[in-house]
């Protein structure tokens, strides 16, 4: 890339686990509260931004072009363009990449980019049969016609709404639930339930340790209209242990599978932002960047194996810079499923897979576990789909700075058979 892309600052909301029914914050509320605190601590005004780009996989029906909506709610003013990007689980990373592209080509100097989703607010939908019934009702003219049509109401359909979230988490081409694609990886690489559960427990332990050590300064606490404060990721369990992890039944391949709700990422609401700037903007406003985004990569693979997306995206990215897995100081590899992270490790370590799928001469190696997701991941803190890609980039920079390290990779698997990866460097 020709121009240097700086990350000036970033912030995210706490990730709030979906409880019963819709969460208290809409997606745009989460993005607004996290974003306004981030902008407040900058030396420039919100209206000085060149654009706002927000990734969101499932905005609610009243959040059309949520990127523009949030830009306005943040007080950026009418003149700052706002737009929305969607690349499923990597929507937040896509927002960053789109910002990079616009800075690279000189369209923008200072961009607020991030991702958001409020999965607890995913809608229930009417089935086609119900929609046809409503449409029929609209065409009835007389009272008698209307009564007659009313009697044809398909009661069974009325009480069987389509769960929007399940639709969103199902591959639209091959028809597999995301969890089933992860079961594929477990089968392929022989990953068993115990390994997954151990990984999940460790994710919770790391997340809890990270919180206690004060390593989550990226979080902006939220306040709701009732004056309740939401300060922390509420899905993290201090009491996570193997015995507890062994209890839940397999969710995706019922009865016979290995993947449970507990060793998967949680259904969560959250938002994450980073502030990107060109060299000129850094000079103009006297900004102190926390890091640079050196390069990014998108790759495709079979939708049935989408969990290996990080392998397919990170490998060419590293090769392009003459790097190996070991040359990267810290990794954030989004934990969609414990089995999927373990699957990525297994794939890189599998000679046949590397040769056949990645055109490598042999096994690529393995990421040092002490340098991978050091403060836990989505299994513990949750995966508000659109937000995660931005969260891991931001958190990785904080991890690198904290450890006086330089180079990191944030990478994410994407439903539909994609992987995204970003190579970053910290500014100390």
């Amino acid at each position: 890339m020709s121009k240097t892309i700086y990350v000036v600052d970033g912030a995210r909301s706490p990730f709030l686990k979906a409880q019963k029914g819709p969460g208290v914050f809409a997606a745009s509320d989460l993005a607004t509260q996290a974003g306004r605190a981030l902008l407040l601590r900058q030396p420039f005004a919100p209206s000085d931004l060149d654009e706002v780009i927000l990734g969101c996989a499932a905005p609610s029906p009243d959040e059309t072009n949520i990127g523009r909506m949030v830009a306005l709610r943040l007080g950026c003013g009418k003149k700052v363009p706002g737009w929305t990007v969607m690349r499923n689980c990597a929507s937040g990373m896509q927002a960053i990449d789109s910002a990079i592209a616009n800075i690279q080509c000189g369209r923008s100097e200072l961009v607020l980019a991030g991702g958001v989703d409020a999965l607890s607010r995913a809608p229930l939908l009417y089935s086609d049969a119900m929609v046809r019934w409503f449409a029929g009702m609209m065409s009835m003219r007389t009272v008698n016609q209307k009564i007659g049509h009313f009697l044809k109401l398909p009661f069974g359909e009325l009480l069987k709404p389509v769960i929007g979230l399940m639709k969103g988490l199902t591959d639209p081409v091959v028809g597999l639930l995301m969890g089933q694609t992860a079961e594929n990886l477990a089968w392929k690489f022989g990953i068993d339930r115990k390994q997954m559960d151990e990984f999940a427990v460790r994710s919770h332990q790391r997340a809890m340790a990270g919180r206690q050590a004060g390593h989550l300064e990226e979080i902006v606490p939220l306040v709701d209209g009732d004056g309740k404060v939401y300060a922390e990721d509420d899905g993290v369990r201090a009491d996570a242990d193997l015995a507890g992890m062994a209890k839940p039944k397999p969710f995706f391949d019922k009865k016979y599978g290995n993947i449970t709700a507990a060793n998967s990422s949680q259904i969560t609401d959250g938002a994450a932002w980073v502030l990107l700037a060109s060299e000129e903007a850094v000079q103009q406003w006297g900004l102190q960047p926390i890091g640079k985004i050196v390069d990014s990569q998108w790759s495709g693979l079979e939708p049935e194996q989408m969990g290996l997306g990080p392998v397919h995206a990170s490998t060419p990215l590293l090769q392009r810079h003459g790097l190996t897995l070991a040359d990267v100081d810290y990794w954030e590899l989004n934990e969609a499923f414990a089995a999927q992270v373990l699957g990525c490790q297994a794939a890189w370590n599998d000679e046949a897979y590397c040769r056949e799928q990645l055109d490598l001469p042999g096994a690529f190696g393995k990421i040092d576990e002490d340098r991978l997701n050091v403060d836990g991941g989505a299994v513990a803190i949750g995966h508000p789909v659109g937000a995660s890609g931005a969260r891991i980039v931001l958190h990785l920079l904080h991890v690198l700075r904290r450890n006086q390290a330089k180079r990191g990779v944030a990478t994410i698997c994407i439903g539909g058979g994609l992987g995204g990866a970003m190579l970053v460097e910290a500014c100390q």
């Binding site: 607004t32 306004r36 605190a37 407040l40 601590r41 030396p43 005004a45 709610r73 943040l74 007080g75 606490p221 306040v223 209209g225 009732d226 004056g227 309740k228 404060v229 300060a231």
Partner: protein, 633 residues
Amino acid sequence: MKHWQLNKEDSGIVVAVLDRAGESTNALSTEVTDEFAQILDQLELYPPKGLIVRSAKAAGFIAGADIGEFSQLDTPEKGRALVARGWDLFNRLAAVKYPTLALVRGHCLGGGLELALACRYILAVDEPGTKMALPEVMLGIFPGWGGMLRLPQRVGPAAALDMMLTGRTVDAKKAKKMGLVDDCVPPRVMEMAARQLLLSNQPRRPLPFMQKLLAGPLKSVVANGARKQVARKARPEHYPAPYAIIDLWQQHGGNALAAPEVVDRIISSPTAKNLLRVFRLQERLKGFGKDGDFATKHVHVIGAGVMGGDIAAWCALRGLTVTLQDQSLERIAPAIQRANTLFKKKLREPLKARAAFDRLIPDPTGSGVAHADVVIEAIFENVEAKHALFRSLEPRMKPGAILASNTSSLRLEDLRTALARPERLVGIHFFNPVAMMPLVEVVEAEGADPAAVRAACAFVKQIDKLPLPVKSTPGFLVNAVLAPYMLAAMRAVDEGVAPETVDEAMLAFGMPMGPIELVDTVGLDIAMAAGRQLADGAEAPRCLLQRVEKGQLGKKSGQGFYAWQQGRPQKGATAAVPAGLAEKLVQPLVDRTQRLVAEGIVADADLADAGVIFGTGFAPFTGGPLNRLNSSR
């Protein structure tokens, strides 16, 4: 014509546009109504297909009668002539054969609404500025130009009496809902809508059956009900106008000319004169905010307690970006909750309430200081703490930003010593509850930068409060005059008068709340501290000391002079009020007000009256403590 323009359109519709010469708002002066009569004359000769009445002013339709002419009503004849001028004119307008329509955009008040009511149709433009009301009662008079006749016909007697007796404004949507206007449309279609509606021949929406009953056979029931309602708020000896409105509607169909003795009595009453004075004083206070071009976009408030939190909420409600700082988010959160309640109540529309909620940003780290045009300190009353705060604020503030303290008990002269530019510190003193109290004292310390004081007044005006410039002195104006009054009330309790009796004496005098209840409301500990500072070294009353010792601190502790349940004092029966008690209690307040004027704490007696009325609720019908003193002489 000087004030009206007549445009004849190809369709045969005539548009009468009011653009009162030399003024930014339209009012129905004699000249304006005389010219309108000429228009009717002209149209009588050449009847148009229809007549649209509208305004050329950006501010609104018509703000009412010309208030300047009220003060010239020195004889009963002139008063009656004033009523007849509008009553006859609008009767004429209501009787024309061609269809008529008032296109109401922006304020439409008093005589302006009475003009609109005389049209066959009223079309309201759905904008925030569109506000319709008959506020005459607030000036101690009545809507004598047909309002009392036609408003009940349009909306039914219950809603009409409510509007006329409270002076309440309704917006365009509400007006449509209650039937006051025939339709309510966005500005983009108002031209088309006005012409379509004018020529529609559409009959008026009939009153619901119940309202017809209330306007007919049950009229006396409605009138008696309304009298009872009014009696709860205003005593007839203080405020005769609302009672006159009910009588005129009930007995004379709203025609004041049928009861000339009522017209004479109301128009010549001291209440009408004094309420007009209060209105003018209010305009004068607003004027203090009009100097200079200081405009505020961002306010930073430090201290999220009751005062700081509510100031922040009010500013966000009024459209400003607000950052609210305290030591932790947990301390700020309760203020966010109160603000949310305020936004929902005042803004009603969910998107507007959400926008206000977005504008109020909790800011535990104080990042907002660097962006703020106004920084208001509202932390606890401690000089050292405020010094430390000011020292940290000053270098981070924008150069031209206002630095203000909401202190009520500390001297600005002592607080500003921590500043590199001490002359920039001003006092911006709000009253509790912030959302209810219209007055804000802008406090000028010795040697303060006059530009900072002017800017502070402009800020206060911008958030729709009334700025009162005062000099720095303990208690400023409002608390300083309240203290001896409350002291006198407690002395009376010491002398054996029951708290209920003391309060009743002052309610009968015209105060909005009795002084003992007021002590309970502000808190006995606060009253004690204020007394120490403001009572010229007098000893604290025994009744106060005893209660404070027992931890009976008033409303907040559930027990003070009264027991408090669900936010209300449990009062016992009232004994007969001893003769002269009210005068005895109010005298110290009057004395102190005079003294503060003499000392130059407030610029003149009129402003002192304004401050005491808008800051304490001092009986408005008296025109203020000093006005009352002068007129009783």
